[in-house]
Amino acid sequence: MQVGLAHFLVLSAALLSLGLYGLLVRRHVLALLMSAELMLGAAALALVAFARFAYEPARPLAGQAVAVFVIAAAVAHAVVGTAMVLCLVHQRGSVNWDGVTHAPAAARDGTG
């Protein structure tokens, strides 16, 4: 029995599909944020697996380098997303994603 690149890639695809399911099913904005984080984590896992199993001497560890950027982007996403969630809840008093098309307008007519 041997663990290879395909094993890690299929695991990453499973994580990505779970994140997709969460994005489709959930209504709570924080849950949507977490599902998106799950998908970014899946992408990072695939990149690290490629860095290990498809090592190229001309571009060593390219996958790991890009995974660093993906993790940084995920952190930025979590920071801004959390701030937006707090802002949204403050303005609408609801944590649901449904019907959020004109959040600034809702703030303007004083529902916040």
Binding site: F8, G19, V48, A72, A83
Partner: protein
């Protein structure tokens, strides 16, 4: 090393726990518990990075993913726990979404498992941290700087978003109300 029984057992154990934690993230009703499951997901994927000889990324994932990010989301879950909300989609639509996700998994799995990658030898680096650091400041220095800029922009944006409306309201309401209204949790509880 890849065929080492210990390696195989560790991979399946960590992978199974990772999938279980990910399922908990997308199904658990309570957002605090979901944030905890997300933290576990990041910690376990960090363990997989260790299996893939990525020690620096393991530390990064543990500190940023399992630590900071999950803490931030748990804080937001606590601050918004009294806000109005409705449960997830009803059962029929949930099944439809599950079918879509399963279809995506099937297509991706079939493509990824069947593909033949240009496999090349692992040079047997002891740890990859040194080589990664070298790459980050030489070949990838431009993306590295851009990432720093992105994080700075995220910091400033988050600060602006959360204190945008507080200034005029605090000025209008006087010092007593301003103190009560500080912080997002206090703000939404009042509305």
């Amino acid at each position: 090393m890849m065929s080492d029984p210990l390696y195989v057992i560790t991979f399946y154990l960590v992978g199974g726990l990772l999938l279980a934690a990910a399922v908990a993230v997308v199904t658990v009703r309570d957002m605090g518990q979901a944030a905890l499951a997300l933290s576990a997901t990041f910690g376990l994927s960090g363990a997989l990075y260790l299996l893939l000889n990525a020690e620096f990324l393991f530390g990064l994932q543990l500190l940023l993913g399992a630590g900071a990010m999950a803490l931030l989301i748990a804080f937001a879950a606590r601050a918004t726990r009294r806000a109005h909300g409705t449960p997830d989609l009803r059962r029929g639509l949930r099944l439809l979404a599950g079918a879509v996700a399963a279809l995506a998994l099937g297509a991706l799995g079939a493509v990824l498992a069947g593909a033949r990658w240009a496999a090349s030898g692992w040079p047997g680096l002891g740890t990859t941290t040194r080589e990664l650091a070298h790459q980050l400041v030489s070949r990838y220095s431009a993306p590295f700087g851009t990432t720093a800029l992105l994080l700075l922009a995220a910091l400033v944006g988050a600060t602006l978003l959360t204190r945008e409306e507080e200034v005029p309201r605090a000025a209008a309401a006087g010092p007593g109300r301003a103190r009560r209204g500080r912080g997002p949790g206090a703000r939404h509880r009042r509305s």
